[in-house]
């Protein structure tokens, strides 16, 4: 046995670490919360497309956002009276397309999306590498071209790579007061196009992206222009107006990589505005919805039919009860009637609530003991005796149910939740105990059983523990490892500290 000790410890440790890893993975990577009441911010964003139809047949196409660092896409809806709708995936992004054969006058289309604000990223795709043709060149005359060349040469001298080059350019473009030819450039061109032109001249891959500033309660919000520079296999965001680097807080990048955000063929005066609402949602609910949508959560019990879920949920709680029993018997040293009877009792308490459950149990077992004392006088063999007890218990269950119904109590079906066979065996054991060791021992074991059952119930009914056991299968190997460890505990039980108190010379 001593030679297998390292193996045993390894198994215990492996179970514990494995379970812990699963829990941490689900929490930190998938975002399943550790407490049931955890909330997370969810942005409700409506993209409103408005245009006037002129030709009758219209195709409107909107680039759609994607899950990105800090934002996880959840649910999206396309709302459009009379339009045919489809979502088209291109290698770089997705587009929603509304089509209709005959419509005239002002039109409104909606794209609604819910985006969770968190840091959990569900397998974010690798950033797309830049395509050279992405930047349409600006029309620039010779004088300006010369000014640009000069600035590029100046910036190149001071820089050591794409990012520092971009910083240098932005420094020059946003300097206050500006140089003369920079001022000319600034008045002639849009800052985004201008920055991209400089970057293209400097041989740096960049692209024009659109960002939506998320702010609670905003309406008619518009997308803002930003520039992304590709370096170190990543896209870096720059604000061409302020020169600020990095993504501001609460900025959602809308469809990076899209050539255009909104195309309307057959319409004019098209506008794209956004209304934004922030809501706190139950984190568990929104994470599960999201995982389900993404097909990421193959090992969740939530994928099963509701009936099976209920069954499994009950099952996952039993190890908690078993842990309580092991703890009570091995570490505390409490005596219970029947090893796992208290666990089954605790399961029944979940249905009946604790106090009504305790009362019902004591009523049935107490009355059952009374009837059983007659059975023991007529000298029955074991199996017939227990069979008789079972029928007596059924009779008592019906009797108490009817009586409590007559007396106007609620939850009259409380009595029916206790497992019949367990009740009968409890009565049998208690009765034998009474005859052999007297009522005191019955009281000790009875209270021990009820105490253990109440403790198991308290744990099994605790929202956090229920939540953990349903959502993190990793809890089970952890419980198993704890039970294995306690199985090797050879120290004193709490009750032994009292039992052997006279051995130490203290009287």
């Amino acid at each position: 046995m001593s030679s297998s000790r390292p193996v045993f410890l390894f198994i215990v440790l492996a179970l514990f670490i494995g379970g812990m890893a699963q829990i941490l993975h689900r929490h930190y990577t998938l975002g399943v919360p550790l407490i049931p009441s955890a909330q997370r911010d969810v942005w409700f964003i409506d993209a409103n497309i408005e245009f006037d139809s002129i030709t009758g047949s219209v195709t409107a196409s909107l680039a759609l956002p994607e899950t990105q660092t800090g934002y996880t896409m959840m649910r999206e809806d396309l709302i459009s009276p009379g339009f045919g709708v489809s979502v088209i995936s291109t290698p770089n992004h997705r587009r929603a397309e509304w089509t209709i054969a005959e419509v005239r006058g002002p039109q409104k289309l909606y794209y609604k999306v819910q985006i969770a604000a968190d840091n959990h990223i569900v397998s974010l795709p690798a950033p797309t590498s830049p395509q050279d043709s992405a930047n349409p060149p600006l029309f620039i005359d010779d004088a300006l071209q010369q000014a640009i060349n000069q600035i590029v040469i100046e910036a190149t001298k001071k820089s050591a790579g794409p990012l520092s080059f971009t910083r240098q350019i932005l420094k020059i473009l946003t300097s206050d007061p500006p140089e003369q030819n920079v001022e000319l450039l600034r008045t002639s061109f849009d800052p985004t196009d201008l920055l991209i032109t400089f970057l293209t001249q400097g041989g740096i891959s960049s692209r024009h992206v659109h960002g939506l500033e998320l702010e609670d309660g905003r309406r008619r919000q518009r997308l803002k222009d930003y520039v992304q520079v590709y370096a170190d296999e990543k896209w870096h965001l720059f604000d061409p107006r302020s020169g600020q680097e990095g993504r501001p807080e609460n900025l959602l990048i809308w469809a990076p990589g899209a050539q255009s955000i909104l195309d309307v063929i057959g319409g004019r005066n098209s506008t794209l505005t956004f209304s934004i609402l922030l809501q706190e949602e139950n984190a568990l609910k929104s994470v599960l919805t999201q995982l389900d949508d993404l097909g990421q959560d193959r090992f969740s019990i939530y994928r099963l039919p509701l009936e099976d879920q209920a069954l499994l949920k009950g099952m996952f709680l039993i190890p908690i009860g078993a842990l309580v029993i092991v703890f009570m018997r091995v570490l505390v040293g409490i005596r219970t009637s029947g090893t796992f009877m208290p666990v089954l009792l605790a399961v029944a308490f979940i249905q009946t609530e604790l106090i009504p459950g305790l009362i019902s149990f004591v009523l049935i077992v107490g009355t059952g003991l009374f009837v059983r004392s007659y059975l023991s006088r007529i000298n029955l063999l074991l199996v017939p005796r227990i069979s008789a007890t079972i029928i007596v218990v059924i009779g008592l269950t019906i009797l108490f149910t009817l009586v409590s119904e007559q007396m106007g109590f609620q939850n009259v079906h409380n009595f029916a939740f206790f497992p019949l066979i367990i009740m009968s065996w409890t009565i049998e054991r208690m009765s034998i105990l009474w005859e052999e060791d007297g009522p005191k021992e019955v009281l000790i074991q009875g209270l021990g059983s009820l105490g253990a059952a109440s403790l198991a119930y308290t744990l099994m009914a605790t929202p956090v523990i229920r939540h953990l056991s349903f959502n993190f299968l990793g809890l089970q190997p952890i419980l198993l490892s704890l039970i294995l460890l306690m199985g090797q505990y050879t120290g004193y039980r709490l009750t032994e500290l009292r039992r052997f108190r006279f051995l130490t010379g203290n009287k």
């Binding site: 046995m1 091995v330 040293g333 000298n379 063999l381 074991l382 199996v383 052999e436 060791d437 199985g487 090797q488 505990y489 050879t490 120290g491 004193y492 039980r493 032994e496 500290l497 009292r498 039992r499 052997f500 108190r501 006279f502 051995l503 130490t504 203290n506 009287k507």
Partner: protein, 316 residues
């Protein structure tokens, strides 16, 4: 003070239930050997094979139809004991001490008829007293006349001596005295008194009832500290022999001292209780560890092991 501290018990070398179960019973007592001690008839037959003294077996009754001819079995017997082979906690033991015109005299003085004996045997066979109600065998054996040295210490029952025998070495001993509370049975958790015995001399160390120290037998008024077990060396040797017989490494041997035949093995226990430590005012671990570490030679005979316990273990 209501509780001992953990370190106090550790220091005293007290063996706890968890350690007993994990470290001693499951390590030294092979499961397959348990039936040998759980069935008193098997124990008895095995003891006879190994020339270990036991109360003389008169007969066994196995089938219900045999109960009809029970008077033939009892013919010529003035005194006898009928007990279930698989009974626990001293249940179902019928002790007849005399025979009169109108029936059989029980040890309590109550007179019962042959018909009542027949029903008692029938109950034994149907498993009324056995664990889990399994069908059982009734054993008919000689009455034990316990040594007069114990006369003032027992109330209605036969006092026996429990030895804890570890790998063949007796390590602790305790006399168990029936009380009115224990209903004549020698079971500590039913209220019998345990008296710790000095392994070197067989003299009383201290008494315990319901895990509390006690000095005087509550029913007879005898001072427990004056208890002195005669034939001590023979008893130790008999206890040691039980190991050779059963091969159970951690064993409880219950031995009675018969006035005529000397020490007799009454029954064996593969899961002996721990109250014996309270009665002896000492923990088991020091002696168990001494033997486990191989400080006592394994090649010893039962006699040598008994001597070793007497001279060496008693000083630990």
């Amino acid at each position: 003070m209501k509780f001992a501290t953990y370190s106090q018990l550790r220091e005293k070398g007290v063996l706890g239930l968890n350690q007993r179960n994990v470290h001693f019973i499951s390590r030294y007592n092979a499961r397959s050997l348990f039936p040998l001690v759980d069935d008193k008839l098997k124990t008895k037959l095995m003891a006879r094979k190994f020339n270990v003294n036991v109360p003389h077996l008169i007969d066994t009754i196995q089938y219900q139809h045999e109960t009809r001819h029970i008077e033939e079995l009892l013919k010529g017997l003035r005194e006898f004991v009928i007990k279930p082979a698989k009974g626990s906690s001293g249940k179902g033991i019928l002790v007849i001490v005399d025979r009169q015109e109108d029936g059989f005299v029980k040890s309590s003085g109550v007179i019962i008829s042959l018909q009542e004996i027949r029903r008692h045997v029938s109950n034994i066979l149907s498993g009324l007293f056995s664990l889990a109600g399994k069908p059982d065998i009734a054993i008919l054996e000689d009455l034990i006349h316990f040594d007069p040295a114990f006369q003032s210490y027992s109330y209605e029952g036969v006092p026996d001596i429990r030895f804890i025998v570890f790998q063949g070495f007796p390590v602790l001993a305790m006399m168990r005295l029936a009380t009115h509370l224990s209903d004549g049975k020698a079971n500590l958790h039913q209220g019998a008194i345990g008296v710790g015995l000095d392994l070197a001399t067989g003299k009383a160390i201290g008494g315990v009832q319901f895990d509390r120290p006690i000095e005087i037998h509550p029913d007879t008024g005898a001072a427990l500290k004056d208890l002195n077990v005669p034939s001590w060396n023979d008893m130790l040797e008999l206890a040691a022999e039980c190991y050779d017989m059963t091969k159970l490494g951690y064993l409880g041997s219950d031995i009675v001292l018969d006035a005529n035949r000397g020490p007799l093995l009454l029954e064996l226990n593969a899961r002996p209780g721990l109250a014996i430590q309270i009665a002896n005012q000492t923990g088991l671990l020091k002696r168990l560890n001494h033997i486990e570490k191989g400080k006592a030679p394994k090649s010893f005979t039962a006699k040598q092991r008994a001597d070793y316990a007497l001279s060496r273990l008693s000083t630990l």
